[in-house]
Symmetry: C2
Subunit: 720 residues, 2 copies
């Protein structure tokens, strides 16, 4: 079967309607095809039924069934997993990957590859089967036999850090489609920045498979509404409309008109009523989707979950559990699949592996295009190589951040954040980002760098609307799209609660996403407890692989940005104040980069009797209380703790130098306008807030109410 490269269906070019059937391909002699089968009498008897219920083309059936049975057999061996979705979506996936997708199996990170996101991540075996069949080295047949086993590269859900060829980590429903929106936004931006009319170096598509579950999750609605607004024409989502979720038929909870909803978002919607066998319709749908350049497309592919399983198809029995030995045998019979478990017939494998050479050719052609580009546009090409290919962060930024910090007065740290963002912006083109409709409060506009909008995708300011969860999932996609973009998000700190599902995936999937979280305590004031974070600092400090920064002043804000900018495998959330803060005595850029450091210590021995630890706006309270205690004759060390997580990564020596074991926890006190929960690691005494906040101006009454005063810190600390 001849490889039809994706480029033959360039945007605007209408492909032949029934290209599938018409395409010339090597027809194997019937004997050779049959000979590899082990046909039982009953299988022979059911041949006609099989023919009717498959595509009508034996070769294509074999290719599709190879995917199905890899999924079936792997789940069966693991006795765990989700066979039904891969069985239903095998035809669509085969058509998509074989006919349309540009990729190079030997270089999964080829920059101009089409991206594929399996938002319905529980169908991971679909993706592993595709990677194996198409010749990716990351997944061997032995790896598939190790599906979901200890230390395998084929984990239960696709994980980008385990398996080359997996673009993003999916599983938690709805995230993948949002990642895909982010990837498509990244593509649109990079294409707008770098493409030239006579030389386009970025022109790939983003494909996504999502299911009913993804469509029920609100997060997908957030991102898809935005995708429609942005008119992301190169985003194509295939909705596996199989009417089954874990609890049974979607009739019990999900009867909305999904297609109409996507039309309301501004998407093109195409229906494929028979996704089980109508490969021509699938092909036409994808081609039509590509032909629509100003809107994203949802292809509603109606399938039968567990297609081919005589007793478990169209039932949640095939959704999330192995079919069982008898049913696997019955499915083999029903689909006429006479091969052993994990056996892929050679003619099928040969066909799939044609993509190896084709993919290499695609990349080679791109290399030639880029060489032309480089000769015509050397400066842009150099920038492309620096930021998109090598993903470098200029060393000069750190000094610029320090200089900015030294040039400013004391301000609200959200204002300092604005200063740092706008210091970085002109020096570092990959920085893109914005707020969930709080740009004016979060202070996150990069001045002079325009809005990313449908007509201006080169803009770097993103307008997420009031969609915190979608925002962070989109940022995950932007970051992991492979174009070297560094996204930041922004909202009030308390509303990170909305985004937590995606923020955890930022951490788990090792992104470098930055989150700007302003209004970081009760001192946001009048908006009241619904808007006042209490447990949020603790909740992110508890999260693995997440830097939770809360800087106190300009130099610490600069340090937080310096760390966040260079951190490409750990996301950073930065909490900033609404209200003005002070300039720390002893504030240190290098110290803040280490997470905790000594601001002052008035002891002669070098280690004072008492340690006061502060973060953010409360560091000032620790400093002022220390002065009063010292005036009474006790020695005090003041420690600034902008980031506990980074501190924990320092050497034991460094940690002991900041918090010496000789000063026991009973002699240490933490001041922070947030929960004391978690601080016991460093101290036994707290001036913290363990209740919800109140609505009032963030002034004296409120400070007194919560004990956030120098006097109170002094009273609590002086007798330690």
């Amino acid at each position: 079967m001849a490889f039809v490269p994706c480029s033959s269906f360039a945007p605007g070019v209408q492909p032949r309607r029934s290209a599938f059937v018409q395409t010339a391909r090597p027809v194997l002699p019937v004997a050779s095809r049959r000979s590899v089968r082990i046909l039982s009498p009953s299988m022979v008897a059911s041949e006609s039924a099989k023919t009717l219920t498959q595509t009508g083309d034996q070769f294509i059936d074999d290719c599709i069934n190879a995917i199905r049975f890899l999924a079936i057999d792997a789940v069966e061996k693991a006795k765990s997993g989700h066979p039904g979705m891969p069985m239903g979506m095998a035809p669509a996936s085969y058509v998509l990957w074989n006919k349309f997708m540009n990729f190079n199996p030997k270089n999964p990170s080829f920059i101009n590859r089409d991206r594929f996101v399996l938002s319905a991540g529980h169908g991971s075996m679909l993706l592993y089967a595709l990677l194996y069949l198409f010749g990716f080295e990351s997944v061997s047949i032995d790896d598939i036999k190790q599906f979901r086993q200890y230390m395998s590269v084929t984990p239960g859900h696709p994980e980008n850090f385990e398996t080359a060829g997996v673009e993003v980590t999916t599983g938690p429903l709805g995230q993948g489609i949002c990642n895909a929106v982010g990837i498509a936004m990244a593509e649109a931006h990079i294409a707008a920045v770098y493409n030239k009319p006579d030389c386009e170096i970025i022109d790939n598509y983003t494909y996504c498979i999502l299911g009913d579950g993804c469509n029920m999750e609100g997060i997908s609605g957030e991102a898809c509404s935005l995708a429609g607004h942005y008119g992301l024409g190169k985003l194509i989502a295939l909705y596996d409309d199989n009417h089954i979720s874990i609890d049974g038929h979607t009739d019990i909870s999900f009867t909305e008109d999904v297609g109409k909803r996507f039309e309301a978002y501004g998407w093109q919607v195409i229906n494929v009523p028979n996704g089980n066998t109508d490969v021509a319709a699938l092909e036409k749908a994808i081609a039509d989707a590509k032909a629509c350049t100003d809107k994203p497309t949802l292809i509603k592919v109606t399938t039968i979950i567990g297609y081919g399983s005589p007793n478990k198809a169209d039932s949640h029995d095939s959704h999330g559990a192995a079919l069982g030995g008898d049913e696997v045998a019955a499915t083999r019979e029903y689909l006429g699949w006479g091969y052993e478990p994990f056996e892929v017939p050679q003619h099928v494998l040969d066909h799939y592996r044609e993509k190896v050479a084709a993919g290499a050719a695609v990349e080679q052609k791109w290399n030639e295009t880029f060489a032309t580009y480089k000769s015509k546009y050397p400066e842009l090409a150099a920038q492309f190589e620096q930021y998109v290919v090598r993903k470098e962060v200029p060393e000069s930024i750190e000094q610029a951040l320090v200089d900015a910090a030294m040039s400013t007065d004391a301000k609200a740290t959200r204002q300092l954040s604005q200063l740092m963002l706008n210091t970085i912006a002109p020096l570092y083109p990959p920085l893109v980002g914005g707020s969930a409709d709080l740009a004016g409060s979060n202070l996150t506009i990069m001045k002079g760098f325009g809005d990313f909008q449908k007509a201006t995708p080169e803009g770097r300011n993103l307008r997420f609307g009031v969609r915190e969860h979608g925002m962070v999932a989109i940022a995950n996609g932007i970051n992991q799209a492979g174009y070297g973009l560094k996204p930041y998000t922004a909202t009030f700190f308390v509303f990170t609660d909305y985004a937590r599902g995606a923020m955890r995936l930022s951490s788990l999937s090792r992104t470098g996403v930055i989150n700007v979280a302003t209004h970081d305590s009760v001192f946001l004031g009048e908006d009241g407890p619904t808007h006042q974070p209490i447990e949020h600092l603790a909740s992110f400090r508890a999260m693995p692989n997440h830097y939770m920064y809360r800087p106190a002043d300009p130099i610490e804000t600069a340090a937080a940005y310096a760390v966040a900018l260079k951190s490409d495998k750990t996301p950073t959330t930065m909490a900033f104040t609404r209200q003005k803060t002070c300039l720390l005595d002893g504030g240190s850029f290098e110290g803040a980069k280490k997470g905790m450091y000594v601001l002052s210590d008035d002891s002669e021995s070098g280690v004072a009797e008492i340690i006061l630890i502060g973060t953010g706006s409360e560091t000032e309270l620790a400093q002022e209380a220390a002065k009063k205690i010292r005036a009474n004759g006790k020695t005090v060390r003041v420690v600034s703790a902008p980031c506990v997580d980074v501190f924990e990564e320092q050497s034991e020596d460094y940690k002991d130098s900041v918090l010496p074991a000789s000063v026991p926890k009973s002699k240490r006190l933490v001041v922070e306008a947030g929960t004391s929960y978690g601080w016991s690691r460093y101290a036994d005494n707290f001036v913290c807030i363990d209740t919800f906040g109140i609505s009032a101006p963030g002034k004296d009454d409120m400070k007194k109410h919560f004990g956030m005063t120098v006097e109170n810190v002094y009273e609590k600390a002086k007798d330690l």
Copy 2:
């Protein structure tokens, strides 16, 4: 103006189209109306413009402007708040509350009142103005003058626990409309259970005002899709379509067709193109909404934000900040409002206060209806009084839970949870709940109690679909609807991340919601790190007013349910295992109800040398390791810690009896398959998991990988 009680617009009865204009009302002599004004020359000059831009009816304009100026003046005095939304939605609110809503200002908890939810909670002054004007005792004019001030009953966002007449706490966008869906579900359920064809005791409506922000949030889509599915005909939402959000015009991020989206959900959608002045259209829209009994209705009320402000209307300048003195004056002039700040003219106040007598009459009539009901259906009436009115939890349940615990073998705690749910279900009709499409994994079906569906609202099993955030927000609404219902939700523990925004509101607004969170650790196995909680126990322990239970065995599971069931002002999240657990030696119902207790202590003094603390499935590890250590000659105390939050509420004496100060933290070790973060409060040593999980069967390899073995606990503990 005659009060037209809501009941004259019973479902199906078409109200007069222009009832507003036709209704007889006392016409004040022009002189008397004018005489209360302080007209400036320019105001006289602008009279005609004013007339054109208002309703054309001076009396109605006065009523509407009274709302507008209370909001304007209160925000102005506070120098903080959101005047624009109340200014735009004053006409719709006035029509709704005056013409349609049944309530009794002197008894805000009248059981058959219509419920009103201000989902756009930042417009809180709209609600406070309505409560004051209609004669609720909770909000006086002095309270309005104290808007957003320390210790006022008029906080920045509506808080149900601060202000009688506020049904739910709103502000975080999208939550309120989900609460409203929950309230409408509760109404439908209670009506189905208690109403009789000849005697209906529950027949109220749920109204909600939501804005663009609410509509952008994914959570609202989740709940509204479900509302359409359930066909909640008595849910009527007014969408303030003002095209402005905080960052500016919604054109920058929100251009979808909201009406079409709601139609896709199965809602009736009605447009009111001029919500600023067309009160007749508003009245007809609400009447038409009530007439549609099998679908919820969205009334898209197109308004101008900040209506009446000559320079800030239709701009985000009026969204979230005071208008400023000059603009307030200009607005007074534009709208012809010659009254002093906070002054409500007597004819307006008299009109509003007619609702006091009318409301009392409504409740009196209901009392008569209920008396009839009681005589005809004494048993149901008694049940109604017990559960709906007095909201009692039968004392007998505790013993039933203990009995159930004593009757079972060791099982996965999720199975024990199923047992407890099904023990409670027949004894306690208010228990309703279900899962976000994981009922078969969470094991949360109450057998024999049917599904809540459009045709069967008496069912008690809720099918939320894959909508975790909407689920919990709906549960908050069900719980706070005032019908005494006790909702539970369910999902995998890790996916509480999706619901966190609503779970925080469960805590903040003092609900008694129960969350069943199964698959509570890495030991869920093959699904891998996306599905394995690590930081989640800590993240909820850090949250104020939230009980985080993790029981270890049957008796502790019974205790967790006993506490959760009786807790009506603190929500409870219960983490349950996928895998089998043991029967604890020394497991105690009363002990577990106190959060932590001593399982065993082999010292003669009563206080052992070492304390091992375990929770959930790891309590067994602590127990077994203790045996080995004891065999080596050291004394060990084993403490079970199913709920740190409840333990912290116990007396200091009790706490010291469990964790005596004489055994320092250096001699204590915690075993839990989750982050060590937070445990420093009780111990210095941990066998915990501070990284993300892995995909593998939850067997020996994985246990060894994470050190979750008796041997490892023994090794870490033996030398303490």
